[in-house]
């Protein structure tokens, strides 16, 4: 900004003028700087808040998805001794066995062995007891630690166990991220698919996007006519309608979800009304399944679709459509080719808002859905609170985040940059 001011005065002005203009320039710059500082000071709290509330936690979450310190911390000698293990097609050399035995003894004495055992359990079935129990059985000295360890538990003679321990040596790992997309590394370190009976997260991710997509579509189909009505009714009646939209919007998510459970259950109001009207003979199953999830999530997220569309529709002047009609367009053509394109920014904002919010839903599917309707956030919550497996929780979070960002990028390409988030 300063450069525009400096460019002109010196060439044309006389000596006295130059001094004066320099002083003026300094003043100008100072004023400019003050203004910039003022502006910065005004946004500083927000920037600070964003850093503390968004950037740091998300960064930390991404770090936890690849962070793998347990084995290296608890079993440092074996982590170093792994350098001697060159041929991964065979069991590691004796030095590695000896290092493991020494580590197990010291970790057991320090009480840290369970930490390593928990980590090994993620990768090996029964890994916890393998480590804890064999540590308990080990003698103080042994002529050959390889034989002693295998005698303590024959599984130390299995290549898979050693490969898992090797892959967990840290400090960084792709174990959790791979697991979050149903992949794993075999004994040789090559990528393979997780066995079918345990592969689940691709399905979960697909299910998450499917539910979010269906809810978005339902919200769009229901929300567009409502927004249109709101925008075109006389103010007195549209205000009343607006209250009907906003009232549920202001009600707690938990209350609304619980209310749906009551309404949709076997003897609930919805089933009673349907049977009274003769729609069905017997009660229909509407809750603890996908139908219930769609109904409740659509209801909860509908205002987020209606409000952006409504705000855009309010700003559309009726003269364009009237002009189209007067020029001979049919009402349908006028609507489709003149009115609808003008509502696109609102549609795009509503669709994006609802879709992205729906992706992270937890409470509604958890309360209304069955075991097969749980979305990614359910599994993130499971790993954080139930099993305290931060690596897996963070990896699932990271996968969901990248999938969302990718989708947002694609969407922006398609819509042509009409909307920006933030």
């Amino acid at each position: 900004m300063g450069s525009e001011v400096t460019a002109t005065p010196q060439t044309t002005a006389s000596r006295g003028d130059t001094v004066a203009s320099r002083a003026l320039l300094r003043q100008l710059r100072r004023a400019e700087r003050r203004r910039q500082w003022g502006a910065f000071a005004l946004v500083a709290p927000l920037v600070l808040f964003l850093i503390v509330a968004m950037v740091l936690p998300i960064g930390d979450m991404l770090r936890r998805a690849v962070d793998d310190p347990e084995i290296a911390d608890v079993l440092p000698q074996v982590t170093r001794a792994f350098d001697d293990w060159t041929d991964h097609g065979q069991l590691p050399p004796d030095s590695v066995f000896a290092a493991l035995a020494a580590d197990m003894a010291s970790a057991r004495a320090a009480g840290t062995l369970p930490i390593a055992a928990r980590r090994l359990n993620y990768a090996v079935d029964g890994g916890r007891s393998l480590l804890v129990n064999s540590a308990r059985r080990l003698p103080e000295t042994a002529p050959n630690w390889r034989d002693t360890l295998i005698a303590a538990d024959p599984r130390w003679g299995e290549l898979d166990v050693w490969a898992a321990l090797y892959q967990a040596r840290g400090p960084l790992t792709d174990f959790f991220l791979l697991a979050a997309i149903d992949m794993q590394r075999d004994a040789q370190g090559d990528l393979t698919a997780t066995p079918a009976d345990r592969a689940i997260y691709r399905d979960v991710l697909a299910r998450t996007f499917e539910i979010a997509g269906a809810v978005t579509l339902l919200c769009l189909l229901l929300g567009f006519p409502v927004a249109y009505l709101l925008a075109n009714l006389p103010p007195r009646r549209s205000n009343l309608l607006m209250i009907l939209v906003l009232l549920p919007f202001w009600t707690s998510l938990l209350v609304r979800t619980a209310a749906w459970v009551v309404l949709l259950q076997e003897n609930g109001l919805v089933n009673q009304v349907m049977m009274m009207l003769g729609v069905t003979e017997a009660p229909v199953r509407l809750v603890y399944n996908r139908i219930g999830v769609y109904i409740a999530m659509t209801h909860v997220l509908l205002p987020f679709m209606i409000l952006p569309i409504y705000s855009v529709m309010r700003g559309i002047s009726p003269v364009y459509r009237k002009a189209a009609l007067s020029l001979g367009a049919t009402p349908t053509t006028a609507f489709l080719r003149v009115y609808l394109p003008q509502t696109l920014p609102g549609l795009a904002a509503g669709v994006l808002l609802v879709f992205i919010m729906a992706l992270g839903y937890y409470i509604t599917p958890a309360l209304i859905g069955g075991a097969g309707d749980q979305m990614v956030s359910y599994f993130i919550a499971f790993y954080t609170t139930d099993t305290v497996n931060w690596g897996m929780a963070a990896a699932l979070g990271a996968v969901l985040l990248s999938a969302t960002l990718l989708l947002y990028w694609v969407y922006n390409r398609l819509v042509g940059g009409g909307v920006r988030l933030g």
């Binding site: 009480g111 369970p114 029964g126 804890v132 009976d197 592969a199 076997e266 305290v388 497996n389």
Partner: protein
């Protein structure tokens, strides 16, 4: 000038905080943490208030469990909690990781005073509770179920079934329904074939299952007529019946487990904590709890002091205990991750 003042102020604040913190740490009331709700209300009346009256300064808090919470308390340095009631998994994991003090049973009446299952290096049993088969007596008037096999028999007992969402308890129930003797359940479940067998059994009634997550849900499902039978905590059935329901319990093949009291590592109130544990371990004090809520006591000497009528409704009644098995904490610590993945995969199909 401002910076020096800031520094002074910060220093002062930090000093005050440290002083307040250490003062609090040195002379803090005994802090007891339990599970809230009706259960903790009962404990308050029976355990906490009388102890306070006897001159033990204590405060009580509640929590929702989770080994991570306990880890964080210990890692944070001086723990604000002294005595915590934990579930069996937290007991084992926390003890292994050194989060709890090792208990000196001599100070609380000796190991022999408690049920064998209530004695652990780091904890002493607080209550015994059961996962039982609960059903609505009004709905199943003609014929009542007698075990998990009936639970899977949708011909004789038509209607939906409630089960806890997750592999724990569900797989055990399936195996027992498939004819595995209760004593062999974990032996069978430890083999891949056993796990397959449990899931195959569950397939039979998969379409009829309503999954519950929180303990309060199954009695609601029964009351609303959503299910005719469900797995449920026995105390919840008792509470519902107190409110006028007619729910029945099948003890046969039920799974019992124990919540334990632990003392947090580095607690400054260890002496007071032992005083508390000794008080709640005494038979005459334990005997009062089941009257308030239908959970079993861990000191067998308390049983003769409980009215015989009530005793029959508790998990610890010999007739009930004899037909139930202990939920294997060791098995689930080892296998919960893998079997949960498998369960979720199966449930989504």
């Amino acid at each position: 000038m401002t910076t020096t003042m800031m520094k002074k102020l910060t220093g002062l604040a930090a000093g005050l905080a440290v002083a307040a913190f250490s003062a609090q740490a040195m002379a803090r009331d005994l802090s007891i943490v339990s599970w809230g709700g009706a259960y903790q209300d009962a404990q308050k009346k029976i355990y906490f208030e009388p102890l306070k009256a006897a001159g033990v300064a204590l405060t009580d808090e509640s929590w929702d469990g989770g080994i991570g919470v306990l880890r964080a308390k210990i890692e944070g340095g001086q723990t604000p909690w002294d005595v915590v009631q934990v579930e069996s998994e937290e007991l084992v994991l926390g003890c292994e990781e050194g989060l709890f003090e090792k208990l000196d049973f001599a100070k609380i009446g000796g190991k022999d005073a408690y049920l064998p299952a209530a004695v652990h290096d780091c904890g002493v049993g607080a209550i015994v509770y059961n996962f039982v088969l609960g059903y609505d007596k009004d709905k199943l008037k003609d014929k009542a179920p007698t075990g998990w096999a009936d639970f899977f028999d949708t011909k004789t007992f038509p209607g939906k079934r409630g089960l806890r969402q997750g592999p724990k308890t569900t797989l055990e129930i399936a195996l027992m329904a498939d004819g595995v003797a209760p004593a062999d359940v974990y032996k069978v479940l430890a083999t891949p074939e056993g796990v397959d067998r449990a899931f195959k059994k569950l397939d039979e009634i998969k379409a009829e299952i309503v999954w519950w997550k929180a303990g309060a849900q199954p009695p609601q499902l029964l009351a609303a007529g959503e299910v005719v039978m469900t797995s449920v905590y026995n105390g919840r059935i008792d509470a519902a019946n107190k409110e006028g329901r007619h729910f029945g319990i099948v003890w046969n093949g039920s799974l019992y487990t124990i919540d334990s009291w632990v003392i947090m590592k580095g607690s400054p109130n260890v002496d007071a904590a032992y005083k508390f544990l000794a008080f709640v371990g005494k038979p005459e004090n334990q005997a009062k709890l089941p009257l308030a809520i239908a959970y079993g006591v861990t000191n067998p000497a308390a049983s003769p002091l409980i009215p015989a009528e009530r005793l029959k409704e508790l998990p610890t009644d010999p007739a009930n205990l004899g037909v139930s098995i202990e939920l294997s904490t060791a098995f689930w610590i080892e296998n919960v991750d893998r079997l949960t993945e498998r369960f979720n995969k199966w449930a989504a199909k």
